[in-house]
Every structure is written in structure tokens, then in C-alpha cells.
């Protein structure tokens, strides 16, 4: 009992430190430990480095310094709650939870607290319907767009007609992995391909059964919704059974250097979806080198610059900064609140001129966000791995997905959520 009280007192003391509200606060719920650390580290580095860059190069956002508060979640929802509660009091402008589970949990909480959440390419897909999910954003693309991109790629690859062919989906047997199934089922009705589903349980070190099945059934394409060690094993097993790698397409979370490097040359030609560009061939990286890395302010070990997930973190940070700038313009004040940030995110427009000005020409798709559509147009590209050069490269432009089907699914799912939680649809 004594120990508990002592501990409680110490906790109280250590959280009592009051923040200075002058900075624009961007909490980063990252994970540098736990089963997904290898994927979490580069993303967190990119996210933090971009804000460091903005502070060092531009003197902050609209003259106000940005402050990143890192909080380690370990991909664990309970730690995620603790992180959210401990950072929201510091004036957090937007949350980037980087975990489907934590996103789901934050949806009601953040909405009630009036803080926007940006789940970029993950989380609850139907949050794209801003009429129901007023504070949740998932631009530029979501899983269902991704499923459609993959199918579109398969159609293009097989010469415009995919009827009668088979697509196998190897998925992480969790909320995240199950996301694309509905969309793929709808698309298989529309295009007449056969869908075969192969679940892989967490953590996914043993996939022999699934890949033996793929070897037996010889599907024309294999899609993968994997995360963590599952990616590496799947790509290794695909190489082992000599499945043609250019028919093997992963979601954007299955397409980082971490995933393909362990398989060596076997991974050559493997494809993954991309919602932003890859590589470090952009002017912004010169700035990052000059202002962040050489200045000794790089987050983490500083060795991740230019990897796919680093770019993703940086891209997420860029979108957050642009949204903050938009919010500052709308409300005419540099010191914005989370509610203003939400308005900024809802009015966000990313065009080529803006990206070029930021030193990121053609880094991501051009899009605009509106109240009806928090998900953007859902553009996505295909990237391919070159094992000898150890480099990803985009092999297509940012192309649209089959929004007709996806919008219907989004409407259905968000209506169900609205009914369950008594939310009246509408724009504020």
C-alpha cells in the first residue's frame, strides 16, 4: 500500500509539469519497440525530421515553432490511450496514431475532444465520409482504394480483361488485414475474377501452408495485406516456391525496404502500392541533410533517410504542416487550436505547385479535401523493387481507383456507425 501511494505521488509529480502553449504541438504516437518496431522506426524518424526541418529552415509554421512530442505505444492500444491522454492536454493539434487499433479507439474520444485524427492509409476506411466522422481524416488514400488499385493493376497487366482469372489475397488475420476483403469481393463480382482468401495469423512466421496452397492453386495474382514479420516471410516463401514476383502485389504497408531485403535477390520484381513517391531524389532531401542530419538533429539513428517508410512519415508531416498553414490562413491567426486545425485539414488542397515549392515535386498525388470527402480522391501508384540496385521505383503514375464501388461501401459502413452511435449526418 505504501509503495502504491509513493508511486502515485511520483506519477502525479512527473505529469504535473505544465506545458508552454506557445508551440504548435504535433504528438507522434510512434513505436520503436515491439513486434512492429522495424516499421515504426523509419516512419517516426521521417515524421520528426520534417518538423525539425520546418523549424530550422522556415522558422516554424507561420512563424510559430512546431513541437513534436514523441510517445512510445509499442503498437499496444492501452499504451496508446495513455499516450493520447498525456499529450492531449499539451494542445495537440492532430494525432497520427499509426495503428489501426489505436485509431479505432481514438475515433470517439478525439471527436468528443474536438481534436482531429489523421490516419493516413490505415485506420477506419469509412472515416472518409466526413459527414459522419467529423474529426477523422484518411487522405490521400485508404485500404479500399488500395484494393481497387491492385485490381486495376492486375487488369492492366493482363491486357484489360481479368475475368476467369484467380486472385489470392494473403492477409494478416486482424482488423487491418480484413479491410480489403469486402471491396475485393465486390470487385470480383464486377470484373468476374475468382477471389481466394488466405489468412495468416499473427505474427506470421509460419506460412508454409498458405504458400503451398498458392503453389497448388497457381493463382494469377497474389495480393498481400501484411505487416511486420509476416511481410518478410511471405516474400521469402513466394521466392521459395518461385512464384512470379511481378504478379505479387502488396499494400503500401507491405512495401518497404525491410520487407524485401531479407529475401535478397529472390524479391526482385515484387510490387507494392504506393500513396507517395519513393527514393531520395527530391530537393527536400538536400534540405533535410543540410538542416537536420548535418546539424545533428536527426531523430533516431538518422540512418533511415530516403527509405519508403521514412518518406511516408515525412509525407504525413508535410500534410500536417500544410493543413496547419491552411488553418492559419482561414482563421487569420498563427496560434491555431485543434478545432482550427480540423478546419485546415478539411480545406486542404495539395497541388503540384505547392509540392514543387516544398522541394517535393510529384512526391504524392494532387488532391483536395472537403467535408463530404475526408479521404481525398484515393489516387495511388505501383512501385516495384529492384533487388540488384536495392531500390524501389514507381512504375506508374498516381491513378484513380474504382470510386463507384468504394463510395457505396463507405456510405454503407459509415451509416452503420452513425446509426450505432446516434450521429446525425451533416456538415458543420
Amino acid at each position: 500500500m505504501k509503495l502504491t501511494k509513493l508511486a502515485a505521488a511520483a506519477v502525479a509529480a512527473s505529469i504535473a509539469a505544465t506545458p508552454v502553449l506557445a508551440d504548435l504541438v504535433f504528438p507522434s504516437l510512434d513505436y520503436r519497440t515491439g513486434p512492429y518496431a522495424a516499421n515504426g522506426i523509419p516512419f517516426a524518424d521521417g515524421y520528426a525530421d520534417y518538423f525539425t526541418l520546418v523549424n530550422a529552415r522556415d522558422g516554424g509554421i507561420g512563424g510559430v515553432a512546431a513541437k513534436v512530442i514523441a510517445c512510445e505505444t509499442g503498437y499496444n492500444t492501452e499504451k496508446g490511450v495513455e499516450c493520447y491522454e498525456s499529450t492531449k492536454g499539451e494542445g495537440a493539434l492532430v494525432y497520427q496514431p499509426l495503428s489501426t487499433g489505436i485509431t479505432y479507439q481514438l475515433i470517439p474520444k478525439a471527436t468528443a475532444d474536438g481534436i482531429p485524427v489523421h490516419s493516413m492509409g490505415y485506420g477506419r476506411t469509412s472515416a472518409a465520409n466526413g459527414k459522419v466522422f467529423s474529426n477523422i481524416f484518411n487522405y490521400p488514400a485508404n485500404y479500399w482504394n488500395g484494393a481497387s488499385h491492385a485490381v486495376n493493376h492486375a487488369i492492366a497487366d493482363s491486357g484489360g480483361d481479368i475475368s476467369g482469372k484467380t486472385i489470392a489475397l494473403v492477409y494478416h488475420n486482424s482488423a487491418y488485414g480484413k479491410e480489403p476483403i469486402r471491396t475485393l469481393e465486390e470487385l470480383s463480382k464486377k470484373h468476374g475474377f475468382k477471389l481466394s482468401l488466405l489468412a495468416v495469423d499473427h505474427p506470421g512466421q509460419e506460412q508454409k501452408s498458405q504458400w503451398l496452397q498458392i503453389r497448388r492453386e497457381k493463382p494469377d495474382y497474389v495480393f498481400m495485406w501484411g505487416w511486420g514479420v509476416m511481410n518478410q516471410v511471405a516474400i521469402q516463401e513466394a521466392a521459395n516456391i518461385r512464384y512470379p514476383m511481378d504478379k505479387f502485389v502488396g499494400i503500401w504497408w507491405s512495401g518497404s525496404e525491410n520487407d524485401v531485403l531479407p529475401a535478397g535477390d529472390g524479391a526482385n520484381g515484387y510490387k507494392a502500392l504506393a500513396m507517395h513517391n519513393v527514393g531520395s531524389d527530391f530537393p527536400v532531401f538536400d534540405d533535410i541533410k543540410k538542416y537536420v542530419v548535418d546539424a545533428g538533429n536527426a531523430a533516431g539513428a538518422g540512418d533511415q533517410v530516403g527509405t519508403v517508410l521514412y518518406n511516408r512519415g515525412m509525407y504525413a508531416a508535410m500534410l500536417a504542416v500544410e493543413a496547419a498553414k491552411t488553418a492559419q490562413e482561414i482563421h487569420g491567426t498563427a496560434d491555431i487550436t485543434p478545432a482550427m486545425m480540423r478546419d485546415g485539414m478539411e480545406a486542404l488542397v495539395i497541388d503540384e505547385a505547392k509540392m514543387t515549392a516544398l522541394g517535393m515535386p510529384n512526391f504524392g498525388p494532387t488532391f483536395s479535401v472537403s467535408c463530404e470527402n475526408h479521404g481525398g480522391p484515393g489516387l495511388g501508384a505501383i512501385s516495384q523493387w529492384d533487388a540488384s540496385a536495392k531500390k524501389w521505383s514507381l512504375i506508374s503514375g498516381f491513378e484513380p481507383s474504382d470510386n463507384e464501388i468504394i463510395n457505396a461501401l463507405i456510405a454503407e459502413d459509415s451509416a452503420a456507425f452513425a446509426a450505432e452511435n446516434n450521429i446525425a449526418e451533416g456538415c458543420k
Binding site: D201, K208, Q236, R242, G296
Partner: protein, 332 residues
């Protein structure tokens, strides 16, 4: 014969191979349980730690570099050498022996005569500790492990069996890595048997496993035996870590292979080395065959995890001490 029949055989073959991989992990558990009655949950983390150390030595990474950089503001990462695989394995083995020594000195010595569950919990605490320690020492990013074991399907076997089942059959698929794992496991078990049967230390090991007090009274040092057993278990963990790590890269999830070994232990009995091998084979074949025949076609797949446990559970209901476990005799 239809292609399906041959595919079933292929599944069984691969199940056997998977079983060997499980047995490799289970062996470490059995060794320690036999000698000291400790259910060592840290075995999986030991495999991770051993593999991390091996990769670290191979690539010449500086231990704790991240910590040193954070504290002193330096920027060091590598010694700048690439150690040959064989030499790196020896160095890792030395680390595992040192580890065994430290575990005995700082943990086991103080926990003599405690209840089994307390010892079990202590090993879970040890597992936590090593997880954090391994990450601190070598970093949490994923590492490629390559000690020269070939990977990929065995093409020779595939081509020479393709004629068996007609057009729909593409020949038996067996992973080269699995074949090597089987060979290593066989060597490992044979050498363990030789060691425990024909060496003085081995006899002492068996004496301790039989009866702690009697062994003590004839002058066998329990503490040195424990160090030896933990060192051997560390070696087994290293082998398991190499095999599993070559497959999936070395990273956190490697420690979860312990969960694959538990049903094997239940089935084979906690105290029997042949039990660990045969239990592994039964579990491997059972879960793969169930997935092939029932799981994937009717239940939507991913049944392997629980089926292994269910199989072991069913088995235990009929034979509560496992396949080769010592018969439980209860007296009041």
C-alpha cells in the same frame, strides 16, 4: 493417383519439416526442465538474443551503440569488419555460455527450492529483461541473417517427382532450409545423446535429472550442472535462432517461436528429449494436415495456432503426462 493425394503427402512432408523446426525450440525447454525443474519461458527470447548477437558479430556492429550515441552524442555504429559466419557462431556461443553463467549466479542460485510457478515467473521476468537488453544492445530494426544455408525450394526433388501425379502436380516442394534444419537437428540430438550417455558430465546431468538430492550427496555440484545445462540450452537456442532467423530475418517476433514449442512440450512430455522430437513431428504434421483438409477449405484458414494446442489437449486428456513424460504417481 490423383494430384490431391500427392499434395496431401507433400503437406505431410512439410509438416514433418515444420515439426523439426518446432522441436528445435522445444529441445531447449526439455533440457532445462529435466535438469532443474524450471519451465524456462525465456527460451524463445534466448533464441532471439542469440541470433541478434550472431548478426551483430557478423556485421561488426558495436553493442549498445544507440545508447552510447544518445548519452555521449557520438555517432558510432560499426567496427568496420565482417566476421566469417563460423567464427561469429563461436563468439555467439561464448556469449551464451557467459549468459548461462550469469543466470545461475544472479537468479537461479537465489531461487533454489522455490515452487515451480515462482521459477516459471522468474524466467518470464528474465524474458522481459532480455528483450529490452537485446534491443538496447543491438537495436530494434530488422536484420538479415545469412550464415550460408541455402534457401528456396529443392529443385532437384521438385523436378524428379513431378511425373508422379499428372499435369496438376508440380512435384514435391521442400525447402532447402528445412532440409538443413533437419540435418542439424539430427546432429544436435545425436550429439546430445552421446554427450549425456558417454561423458562424465553427461552422466552427472542425468543423475541430477533423476534425483537432485542423491546427486548432491554423491558430490555432484548442482550449480555447475545448471550452468552447463543453461549453456547447452543457449546453444540449442542459437541453432533455433539461426534456422528461424534465416527464414524471417532477425527481429522481435522471433521470440514468439516459444509459443510454437509449448504444444510440442505438452504432447511429448516436459522431460523427454525423444518426446520433444516426436511431439514436434506429430504437431507439425497434425496442424498442417488439418489446415489442408479442414482448416483452409471449410474454416477459412489460420487454424494452425489453436489446432496445435487442441491436439495436444485432446492427447493429454487420455495421457496426462504426455507421450514420453514420466508417469505421475500420486501419494497422499
Amino acid at each position: 493417383m490423383s494430384a490431391d493425394f500427392y499434395y496431401a503427402i507433400e503437406v505431410i512432408l512439410n509438416g514433418l519439416m515444420a515439426g523439426v523446426m518446432y522441436s528445435l525450440v522445444a529441445l531447449g525447454f526439455v533440457l532445462i526442465f529435466k535438469a532443474s525443474g524450471i519451465f524456462n519461458y525465456a527460451q524463445g527470447v534466448m533464441a532471439l538474443f542469440a541470433a541478434l548477437t550472431l548478426v551483430g558479430f557478423q556485421n561488426g556492429e558495436i553493442p549498445f551503440s544507440h545508447l552510447i550515441n544518445a548519452v555521449f552524442g557520438t555517432d558510432i555504429h560499426h567496427f568496420g569488419w565482417h566476421m566469417p559466419a563460423f567464427f561469429a557462431i563461436l563468439c555467439s556461443l561464448a556469449v551464451m555460455i557467459l549468459f548461462a553463467f550469469l543466470v545461475e549466479k544472479y537468479i537461479l542460485k537465489h531461487l533454489v527450492n522455490q515452487e515451480p510457478i515462482i521459477l516459471f515467473m522468474a524466467t518470464i521476468g528474465l524474458a522481459y529483461f532480455m528483450e529490452g537488453f537485446g534491443d538496447l544492445m543491438w537495436g530494434a530494426d530488422i536484420k538479415k541473417l545469412d550464415v550460408g544455408i541455402p534457401q528456396g525450394g529443392n529443385i532437384w526433388l521438385e523436378e524428379n517427382t513431378a511425373f508422379l501425379g499428372g499435369d496438376d502436380f508440380y512435384g514435391f516442394y521442400i525447402d532447402n532450409l528445412d532440409i538443413w534444419a533437419t540435418i542439424f537437428a539430427a546432429i544436435l540430438v545425436i550429439s546430445l545423446v552421446i554427450f549425456s550417455q558417454y561423458t562424465k558430465t553427461g552422466r552427472a546431468l542425468r543423475a541430477v535429472a533423476d534425483d537432485h538430492q542423491a546427486a548432491l550427496s554423491v558430490g555432484i555440484s548442482l550449480r555447475s550442472i545448471w550452468v552447463i545445462v543453461w549453456a547447452i540450452a543457449g546453444f540449442v537456442a542459437l541453432v533455433a535462432g539461426i534456422m528461424w532467423g534465416s527464414k524471417s530475418g532477425v527481429q522481435f517476433s522471433l521470440s514468439l517461436i516459444a509459443l510454437k514449442a509449448l504444444p510440442v512440450l505438452m504432447l511429448g512430455g516436459f522431460t523427454s528429449i525423444p518426446g520433444a522430437i516426436i511431439g514436434g513431428l506429430i504437431i507439425g504434421v497434425g496442424e498442417k494436415l488439418f489446415e489442408f483438409l479442414i482448416g483452409a477449405p471449410f474454416l477459412g484458414g489460420a487454424t494452425e495456432n489453436w489446432f496445435a494446442y487442441m491436439l495436444a489437449l485432446l492427447f493429454l486428456v487420455f495421457r496426462p503426462q504426455g507421450l514420453f513424460g514420466e508417469k505421475i504417481i500420486e501419494r497422499v
